[in-house]
Amino acid sequence: MFGTTTNMPSSVFDELWRLQQEVDELFGSWSSPSGIRSVPRGSFPAINVGQTPDRVDIYLFAPGIDPKSLDISIQQNLLTVSGRREIRAEEKASYYRQERFSGEFRRAISLPEDVDPERVQAKYVDGIVQIGVQRRESARPRQIEIQ
């Protein structure tokens, strides 16, 4: 009576809602909000982040790069990494597959708010850039003793 959608039998909506629930269960994160700086699957380099109460470790899966060409910066809790991986194609060869990323890349990821941008270390081992950031003391959980 009040517009077309409200006239529909409610079972249609129930059905749609149920379907949505099923899709959510099936695909999990696909339908949940995605991070504003998130990127499509398969972007280079892939990023994993691990944390402990006193530090956050960021792992960039960046094989075959020159670590000196990387530009890593932290502003407050936003980590930005940019760089370049150049893959030169062989001359006098016929290619069947060229799946590996070549070119410039840039990725940004927000870290927990309590990271200390002044205390960061980075190293490159086996094609992974590992960036370790210390967290501020005050943010760590403290044991409170009962007198």
């Binding site: 699957r41 380099p45 892939a46 990023i47 994993n48 982040v49 691990g50 944390q51 402990t52 109460p53 530090r55 956050v56 470790d57 792992y59 899966f61 960046a62 094989p63 075959g64 790069i65 893959i87 194609a89 062989e90 006098k92 060869a93 016929s94 290619y95 069947y96 597959r97 060229q98 799946e99 590996r100 990323f101 990821i109 927990p112 490159y124 081992v125 086996d126 094609g127 992974i128 590992q130």
Partner: protein, 138 residues
């Protein structure tokens, strides 16, 4: 610091970092299919695969019948009780299989690994390399 692959474990949002897990294969999800470049020249075929986090001793390359199987285990350096906060790589295993053809000399495959990039060179049998056929004037 201990080393293990927990951050790459599927659904590892809670438990992580037990000591000794470096040696066990985590019950991870589907292996990651490493991206590859493959090209051919007159002497053979070269394959390059991105396998970041794999060291030489965690790489396995084998020929099984007609198949070339590439497998590698990711090893991340983690602090003692780390938990995963965010993970795009959700398996600690890379695996990809290619079927080879008869003119390739599987006994002479050479491989090298550098900064997480695997390069495999598969030579063609000498007698089967393409020969240029001269056309003689009659």
């Amino acid at each position: 610091m201990t080393t293990n692959s927990e951050v790459t474990r599927r659904g590892s949002a809670t438990a992580a970092g037990q000591s000794g897990s470096a040696e066990q294969r985590p019950q991870s999800g589907e292996p990651v299919r490493p991206p590859v470049d493959i090209w051919e020249d007159k002497d053979g075929i070269t394959l390059c695969a991105d396998m970041p986090g794999v060291s030489k001793d965690r790489l396995e390359l084998r020929v099984d019948g007609n198949n070339l199987i590439i497998e590698g285990q990711v090893q991340l350096e983690l602090s003692g009780k780390a938990e995963a906060l965010y993970a795009e790589v959700r398996s600690s295993l890379y695996r990809r299989t290619f079927s080879l053809s008869g003119e390739l000399e599987t006994g002479k495959i050479e491989a090298s690994l550098r900064d997480g990039v695997l390069t495999v060179r598969i030579p063609k049998r000498a007698e089967l390399r393409p020969r240029k056929i001269e056309v003689r004037a009659a």
